[in-house]
Symmetry: C2
């Protein structure tokens, strides 16, 4: 299987976000209509992922995802198998949490999977430019040979 080729992926953005602390509670920014990575609003939904479990692999053929983790700790792994891409064959790995508070923008045609690392709740908000459409989603098992298992180490 060899070494995993980690690096940046063309079109993937990691944008720092602000948390404004307050006496009664905090305000956590997520996205505005002028943010980097915003290309229209289709749907917002949450995914939770149990600690130690991995959801994926999935690929959207049209949707751009904007992912924010306001609770818990989630590791995302992305994989670029777009033949025309300058970063073809590259894996990108990052952790999102309130302690490392960023927005991850995933363009179409990028494979992604994510693992729950926190307890009790790992919560992912996706602000997507399209409403849910199963026609534009491809799935592969988490152990598919296209993806090195080493990426989770």
């Amino acid at each position: 299987m060899g070494r995993v080729n980690f690096g940046n992926i063309e079109g993937v953005l990691l944008t720092p976000l602000t948390i404004i602390p307050g006496e009664l509670g905090n305000v956590l920014h997520a996205m505005t209509n002028s943010s980097a990575g915003f290309g229209g609003f289709g749907e917002a939904y949450f995914s939770t992922v149990t600690q130690g479990k991995i959801k994926g692999w999935k690929k959207h053929t049209r949707m751009t995802l904007n992912l924010v983790v306001p609770a818990g700790n989630v590791t995302f792994v992305l994989y670029d198998d777009r033949k025309e891409s300058r970063t073809f064959g590259t894996f990108f790995k990052t952790g999102l949490s309130p302690e490392s508070y960023r927005r991850l923008t995933v363009p179409p045609h990028i494979w992604f999977a994510f693992q729950g690392d926190g307890e009790p709740l790992n919560l992912v908000l996706n602000i997507a430019d399209l409403p849910h459409d199963p026609q534009e989603i491809e799935s592969l098992p988490i152990n598919d040979p296209k993806f090195s298992a080493d990426v989770w180490k």
Copy 2:
């Protein structure tokens, strides 16, 4: 102070939302671009509120709020002092949580405040039709005489 006039408020919507359970985690719907209460995307942000604390009162003069609670338990109280409204003088009170999973749509010119009831995290997502603009926000202290303190009992 007399009895509190509780009831529905014209323009306020409470829309049931779906949670799709899964072995690895759940999916919690929040909003699509064809949902009731959607009038465009301006900004999405989170607010947390400590257990036993109340944030408010606030009123937006232009923004419509769409509020979802994916973690914890939050009690919202709304107050209609729009002179032209059929529900002028009415308070509306509701709890939002993953166990009672709904989206609360608050139109402009409605006063609102919210209390944290859960532990450790009470998390509110607002999907707003405008980006944050302090010019369109009015605030009053939580104990302002416009609002009966009895609404929190």
